[in-house]
């Protein structure tokens, strides 16, 4: 009788170990929703400024490339989950005519720099003093991502944390239809 | 004996009611019923787990139209579901395919039942 309890306990332990290992190694599902935005189909508003690490960046100089613009903040929870995905995406697309740039939304320089260093520094982020760029793009809550085609027209607006796979799909769609 | 007689009497009454209920059962084989049944098996493309039968999203309404059209064209249930799967992907079906890994979903419940009954019998046999 002791054996049957031992056996079932052992079986339970094996199943639980397998299940735990499996579940612990799953990645969270990221999902941003495509949102209707007054910018869709129009030329992207001006976006230029100083980068977090120094230097300047301007949307105009990226004509001919697809540009993904991601508005984020250090105090924004979903941004933390999204940042590594964006880094991975930026790295894999770096020589394929797709550029990724972040824009710091309503945040302090030190907090933003710390965030970028910790979570995702494989793409540049532009500082936005006074929230001028955010106003032009109509941002009220990060994370928000815009996909601008090679001709400088806004083709997609995504609200919420976007994952690398989803972004790949959207960018592929934009490339195909422009 | 009295107990047996009263039980038998009740069984007869129940049998009569069951026979009547089968005879009077509403038929479920019309095209409308088929369409409605198929709608409960297909997920609304924009939702996480609602079927197109209950969702009123634009994409759900579109899929409902597709199903209704295909039923009218005379396609079989299997054909309709397969064609939807090829357009929207396997995740559009609310029940995974029973082939491949999906067979687990049906085998495991049976296995569980068998296992538990066996353990219960062993419990009962031990005196």
């Amino acid at each position: 009788m002791k054996r049957s309890i031992m056996l079932s306990s052992l079986a339970a332990i094996v199943v639980v170990v397998a299940l735990s290992l499996f579940l612990a190694t799953r990645h969270p599902v990221l999902g941003a929703t495509e949102a209707p935005s007054p910018l869709l189909g129009k030329a992207a508003p001006q976006l230029s400024g100083t980068k977090l690490g120094g230097g300047t960046w301007s949307l105009k100089s990226e004509l001919g490339h697809v540009v993904v613009v991601n508005f984020w903040a250090s105090w924004c929870g979903p941004c933390r989950v999204e940042a590594p995905e964006l880094s991975a995406f930026a790295w894999q697309e770096r020589n394929k005519g797709v550029d990724l740039v972040g824009v710091v939304f309503n945040d302090s320089l030190s907090a933003a720099a710390a965030f970028a260093a910790q979570y995702g520094s494989l793409y540049p982020s532009v500082v936005d003093p006074g929230g001028v760029i955010a106003n032009r793009y109509g941002i009220t809550s990060p994370p928000t991502t815009f996909v601008i085609n090679a001709k400088g027209v806004v083709e997609a607006t995504l609200l919420g944390p976007v994952g690398a796979k989803q972004l790949e799909g959207v960018v592929a769609h934009v490339k195909a239809t422009s | 004996m009295k107990v047996l007689r009263s039980f038998a009497l009740w069984c007869v009454a129940l049998l009569a009611v069951v026979v009547f209920s089968i005879a009077l059962r509403p038929s479920g084989s019309g095209t409308l019923a088929r369409t409605q049944h198929l709608e409960t098996l297909v997920r609304c493309p924009a939702c996480d787990d609602l079927s197109v039968a209950v969702s009123n999203a634009t994409s759900a309404i579109a899929v409902r139209h597709e199903i209704a059209t295909k039923v009218r064209q005379g396609q079989s249930d299997n054909q309709i579901l397969t064609s939807l799967e090829s357009v929207y992907g396997t995740s559009i079906l609310l029940s995974p395919p029973s082939s491949g890994l999906g067979v687990l979903l049906w085998i495991v419940p049976l296995l569980v039942v068998v296992l538990l009954i066996v353990s219960a019998l062993r419990l009962a046999r031990r005196r």
């Binding site: 332990i13 990221l30 945040d107 609200l159 | 009611v17 979903l105 419940p109 419990l123 009962a124 031990r126």
Partner: protein, 653 residues
């Protein structure tokens, strides 16, 4: 910065309290002395209450120096939704969890204060302190609710629209969490009983008492959640077999099995190993459920945003199951009862069948919930496991459970006598047969409905008969009031509630009709016997939201289905359904679209319809209100069951 600092200090104080409690209990156990852990529990409680106070203060005063408040609150958020904002997102929900855990830990220590020297209480409360410490640590690390918001924000994002348009947001999570947290008590006692080897005397029933409290809360929490989803999600349904819903159902299933199985232990000393396993499994499933809800690995409309908590929660799940299974393997054989089940169709035998059904169903639901993850890992593609699968498993299980409810209360202990069973069931059997005959005659003929009603009458009959027996016995003893504390009273009332719930579920899903109707202003039509009329538009707008409401009348009652846009989070637009409800049917009306090109507040436009006309979605569901009535009765019954007498006490009282 001050609020962040203050909140964090309160959390540290609470953590010190839990840690102190663990140390004090372990030392008291080792030194065989009375423990002073209740003081540490008080400290932990004070700490978490203060932390909750800080968060609520920040929410109510719209203090955006906390990132959490900036994300979940806005200056125009009403008071109720500011308060409930504490559990609207992940970090804050942990505050509620730890609050309840600390209250329960203190409660258990206080309730058993005269048994402070008892090793079972000692080990149990050690475990409870440990669990509280773990969740507090989560808030001190990866899920910090008091994270400082470095930016100077003048306006917050506001809560999610679906979390601020119905007051049930104030009821569902607290009851649900009370259930989840409550299951830590039977688990703690199971561990304690295994360590000390004392599975007998009063502890199993004490353990059951707390489980009933947790189970009752969880049942209410689940029903309230279903009611809330029903009222706001717009599809007229109340359960979607969504991963987070399943996460709450799984521990409920094993807890139900446990509550029943422990009756046999009380009466005949059997099933000790089963019961310990069920208590451990219930809490393990609670943690697993928390993992599903908070890790973001499964897609769900109810899930909190993904976080790094996943692996940590799996770690706790792992520890819970391994320690439980390990202790069982070590001690299990010593606990086995010397006797067995005499006959498979005796009361004990039917309880075994009951255990099998509930545990089997739980395993299948768990498999269905994680299957998409498995499939994706193996095949790389997405797959959905939805209602058709779960319903096809739930239907036979429910039928068998109703059969058990109809027979088991009337079957004798230790023996199975068909004659005795028939003499006790005869009246219900005839009542059931006559009922479905009447239904057939009046035109209700769907097999599912008839089968459900037949079994429901049988089950209700068994419950009523048992209640009558308890009442008669109490009257004979001279005090009819003592029937309230009779062993079966609470449980039979719960069964009646379940029967009402079951009939409600089957009837509303079998006979539901969904129609879309287009009405011009002033026009009315009849759908499914209900008179629906549309008399015009009504726009409301305040700081919180702007909505286009429709003046609709259903059978003379005024309803205002609407499309509402909440200010804040990018102007989230949601449909606001309106419901006309009575005990015979619910009429569920949604604002689907408006004709012409006059669109306000985000309502869908259909250009092929004349302006001023609207498209309404009308869903008629008979007996839907029976679900909520059934839930209420279940809650009442479980409250009564908390005060149940021990079997042995009944003879002497």
């Amino acid at each position: 910065m001050t609020l962040t600092w203050l909140g964090r200090v309160c959390l540290y104080v609470s953590f010190v309290g839990t840690l102190g409690g663990v140390i004090e209990q372990l030392r008291a156990l080792r030194q065989h002395r009375t423990s002073r852990a209740i003081r540490w529990a008080a400290l932990a409680l004070v700490g978490i209450v203060a932390a909750v106070g800080v968060m609520e203060f920040a929410l109510i005063t719209h203090n955006f120096s906390l990132a959490y408040v900036a994300e979940n609150n806005a200056t125009f958020t009403p008071l109720l939704y500011s308060i409930t904002g504490m559990w609207s997102a992940l970090e804050g929900s942990l505050l509620l969890w730890v609050l309840l855990q600390s209250v329960i830990t203190f409660g258990v220590l206080y309730y058993y204060r005269r048994d402070r020297g008892d090793a079972v209480v000692g080990w149990a409360t050690t475990v409870l302190f440990g669990i509280a410490a773990f969740f507090t640590l989560l808030m001190m690390g990866p899920a910090d609710p008091f994270l400082h918001n470095a930016a100077l924000v003048h306006q917050g994002a506001g809560p999610n629209a679906l979390l601020q348009d119905n007051p049930l947001v104030a009821a569902h999570p607290p009851f649900l969490y009370l259930g989840f947290v409550g299951f830590s008590v039977p688990f703690a006692f199971a561990i304690a009983m295994l360590i000390t080897g004392r599975v007998q005397d009063r502890w199993p029933l004490e353990q059951r008492r707390w489980t009933v409290l947790a189970w009752g809360s969880l049942s209410l929490g689940i029903v309230l959640g279903a009611w809330w989803s029903y009222q706001v999600l717009g599809w007229g349904g109340f359960w979607g077999w969504d991963p987070v819903e399943n996460a709450a159902l799984l521990p409920w299933l094993t807890a139900t099995a446990y509550i029943h199985s422990v009756i046999v232990q009380d009466r005949r000393g059997l099933f000790r190993v089963w019961n310990l396993s069920l208590a451990i499994a219930t809490f393990a499933l609670t943690i697993l459920g928390t993992f599903f809800t908070r890790s973001g690995v499964l897609v769900s409309v109810h899930a909190f945003s993904s976080s790094t908590l996943g692996p940590l929660l799996i770690g706790l799940f792992f520890v819970v199951v391994i320690s439980g299974a390990g202790l069982l393997a070590w001690r299990g054989d010593r606990l086995r009862a010397p006797v067995g089940v005499d006959h498979p169709l005796s009361r004990e035998g039917l309880f075994v069948a009951n255990n099998i059904l509930f545990v089997g169903f739980a395993i299948v639901v768990l498999l269905g919930t994680v299957f998409p993850l498995l499939y994706q890992a193996v095949n790389g593609t997405q797959v959905t496991v939805g209602t058709p699968y779960f319903a096809s498993v739930a239907a036979p299980v429910s039928i068998l459970l109703l059969v058990l409810m109809a027979i088991a209360p009337l079957v004798s202990w230790r023996s199975a006598d068909a004659r005795v069973l028939w003499s006790r069931t005869r009246v219900s059997a005839w009542a059931a047969t006559l009922t479905i005959a009447v239904l057939l005659i009046v035109g209700i003929r769907r097999p599912a409905e008839l089968a459900a009603v037949f079994l429901a009458v049988l089950a209700a009959g068994a419950a009523l008969r048992t209640l009558r027996g308890a009442l008669l016995a109490a009257i004979r003893r001279g005090s009819w009031r003592s029937a309230v504390r009779a062993p079966a009273t609470g449980g039979m009332i719960v069964h009646l509630g379940v029967v009402i719930l079951a009939v409600g579920i089957v009837t509303s899903t079998t006979y539901v009709t969904r129609t879309e109707v287009t009405l011009a202003t002033g026009q009315s039509t009849v759908i499914d016997g209900q008179l629906i009329g549309f008399s015009g538009f009504r726009n409301v707008s305040d700081a919180l939201r702007s909505a286009t409401q429709l003046r609709v009348s259903v059978d003379g009652h005024r309803l205002l289905p609407a499309v509402t846009t909440y200010n804040g989070r990018n102007g989230q637009t949601v449909g606001t359904p309106a419901i006309d409800s009575n005990f015979t049917r619910d009429v569920y009306v949604t604002f689907e679209a408006v004709g012409g090109n006059g669109s306000t507040s985000g309502a869908q436009v259909r250009n092929n319809l004349p302006a001023g006309s609207v498209v309404l979605g009308v869903t008629v569901e008979p007996l839907l209100a029976w679900l909520w009535l059934g839930g209420l009765v279940i809650g009442l019954g479980s409250a009564l069951s908390f005060f149940r007498r021990r079997y042995n006490d009944e003879v002497t009282t």
